[in-house]
Amino acid sequence: MRSVRALALLPYLAMLIGPFFVNRVTPYFFGMPFLLAWFVAWILLAAAIMAVIFRLDPADRDESE
């Protein structure tokens, strides 16, 4: 499932390109300005994506390395 690795590009798009579209204060989420809430959401998603990649990556079956 090497194609799953492509998911790792999403946080890059969200954090490097995303701000051009979400640089705004409102609406607030959990009390945070929208831009900050966007980044927080993507930190959580980045961790989730890496967890999925980690689970499916055959490289991690080899504990000796």
Binding site: Y12, M15, L16, G31, F54
Partner: protein, 490 residues
């Protein structure tokens, strides 16, 4: 002695104790001292890599940046996250190569990949020039924290001396193991302290996080997002990209890759390290909360925002706990930097002069160099003026220049010759220095460009120069070799 000082003294003694204990049961050879015998599991590697984000820079600078400039500070959240995502793919091949070739330092990697001790010398020099100001920053932060959190009972100068002596002592005894063990205490404390401050200040002063941001926005509309000009979206995006690429290029961070027991440890951490970034959120909350409560801090004083607010709000013993945490955020990265700088000097500079030196001798040289590096840093901390500030701003851009030659060396067929790698790094570093010392921006360099391009981080120019020079020299030297006939492989 007031309650605050007891907490700070406790942190210093704790760091010293843990730092010495870390050595127990180990024969300290060069491999143990520099990379802990490549034996660390996920938790300790996690703490070493997280040690890089939670330094005095984040504790003081992160909150100060939020206080002084608002939204642009979010870049710190992003570059760490993206660097950790990258680490999943970038670090395992580096670790594997380092294990197979018995490497101790970042420069060793370049020496072996490009088969050139001279390139190792160059990379070491770039690393040391970037590391010393970074160490100075830690010592400066430590001095400020002790002075404020101790209510002025201890001036910053003796605090800097004591902090430098403590880090030197446990690094000489335990090497990188000392950093890892003290990092356990540091991260436990910083988690509690930062989450507490970031929750308590908004609640206590504003009634909640939402109310706090609303109040800040009411005072200065647009402060909590990116401004239209200056530190704009263009600045933000280019800065995040540059700092992501540079993240693992710091010699001490690079060496922490080698301490892992296996590549699985590294991949596992790539899942959890992004979540750890969220702690920074609470640092920012503290900085934002201070805006309307301790207004009027200007220039370098914005870094004091979090501590000023703490002193205003809490009993001395709470301030002492915060101060103790602050001291540890200086000592842990400080000790990692000391180890890395001494390793570069002994293993990649001294060894070039004395190639027959055995590992045991190189280790002795490294240990002798630790106090010398610390002394140099203390000197600049106490005497340094503008020069050191300029160097500090350049440090991150300097180490980022190592990225292209490193990444391309991982390719199966590396087309980059050693001359090209060296030329690229020199050109990139020279561009950074020239641009920083003349205070150029892309706007002043290329006045005709559209305003968006002018707001890009000027480090992009240096990286572009680096890559172009590297490609050009590589093309030239490849041709030169070929024209002499099918001889040795490079």
């Amino acid at each position: 002695m007031n309650g605050a000082l007891i907490g700070i003294a406790g942190a210093v003694i704790l760091a010293l104790g843990l730092g010495f204990l870390a050595r127990r049961g180990r024969q300290m050879g060069l491999e143990q001292w520099t990379v802990a015998g490549r034996s660390f599991g996920a938790p300790l590697v996690f703490l070493l890599m997280a040690g890089e984000i939670y330094t005095t820079f984040t504790f003081l600078g992160g909150s100060g940046f939020a206080y002084g400039r608002g939204g642009p500070t979010y870049y710190i959240l992003c570059y760490g996250t993206l660097a950790y995502v990258m680490s999943y793919f970038l670090l395992p091949p580096i670790w594997r190569y380092a294990r197979d070739n018995g490497l101790y330092s970042q420069s060793d990697f370049f020496v072996r990949k490009y088969n050139s001790p001279a390139l190792g010398v160059l990379v070491s020099l770039v690393g040391i020039v970037a590391l010393i100001p970074y160490l100075v920053l830690q010592f400066k932060g430590l001095g400020i924290i002790v002075e404020i959190a101790g209510y002025g009972a201890i001036a910053s100068t003796p605090a800097v001396w004591v902090g430098a002596a403590v880090a030197t002592a446990y690094v000489m005894v335990s090497g990188v193991r000392g950093s890892a063990w003290t990092a356990v205490a540091k991260d436990a404390m910083i988690l509690v302290v930062v989450v507490f401050l970031g929750t308590y200040f908004p609640l206590h002063y504003y009634g909640g996080i939402g109310a706090m941001f609303a109040a800040v926005e009411a005072a200065t509309p647009g402060f909590t997002v990116l401004p239209a000009h200056g530190e704009s979206v263009w600045w933000f995006s280019s800065t995040v990209l540059l700092t992501t690429l540079g993240f693992y290029m710091w010699p001490h961070t690079f060496a922490s890759i080698y301490t892992a027991r296996n590549t699985s440890v590294i991949r596992k951490n790539a899942v959890f390290l992004p979540l750890y970034q969220l702690i920074l959120l609470f640092v920012f909350f503290g900085g934002f909360a201070a805006i309307l409560q301790v207004p009027g801090l200007k220039g370098a004083d914005v870094d004091l925002a979090l501590f000023k607010l703490s002193v205003k709000t809490f009993d001395p013993w709470v301030v002492g706990v915060i101060g103790a945490t602050g001291v540890l955020t200086a000592l842990v990265p400080g000790s990692m930097i000391l180890t890395a700088a001494a390793t570069l000097l002994a293993n990649n500079l001294y060894r070039v002069v004395d190639p027959s030196a055995a590992d045991a001798r190189v280790l002795r040289v490294a240990k002798v160099l630790v106090p010398l590096v610390a002394l140099v840093a203390v000197y600049f901390t106490l005497k340094g003026g503008q020069t050191i500030v300029a160097l500090l701003l350049m440090g991150y851009s300097f180490v980022t220049q190592l990225f292209p030659a490193l990444v391309l060396s991982l390719a199966r067929n590396n087309r980059i010759t050693r001359a090209a790698a060296a030329a690229g790094i020199v050109a990139g570093v020279a561009t950074v220095a020239a641009v920083s010392l003349t205070h150029s921006t892309i706007g002043t360099l290329f006045a005709a460009l559209p305003v968006e391009i002018k707001e890009l981080n000027v480090g992009i120019v240096a990286l572009a120069v680096n890559v172009v020079v590297m490609m050009a020299v590589s093309a030239g030297t490849n041709v030169a070799v070929k024209s002499r006939g099918p001889v040795r492989a490079i």
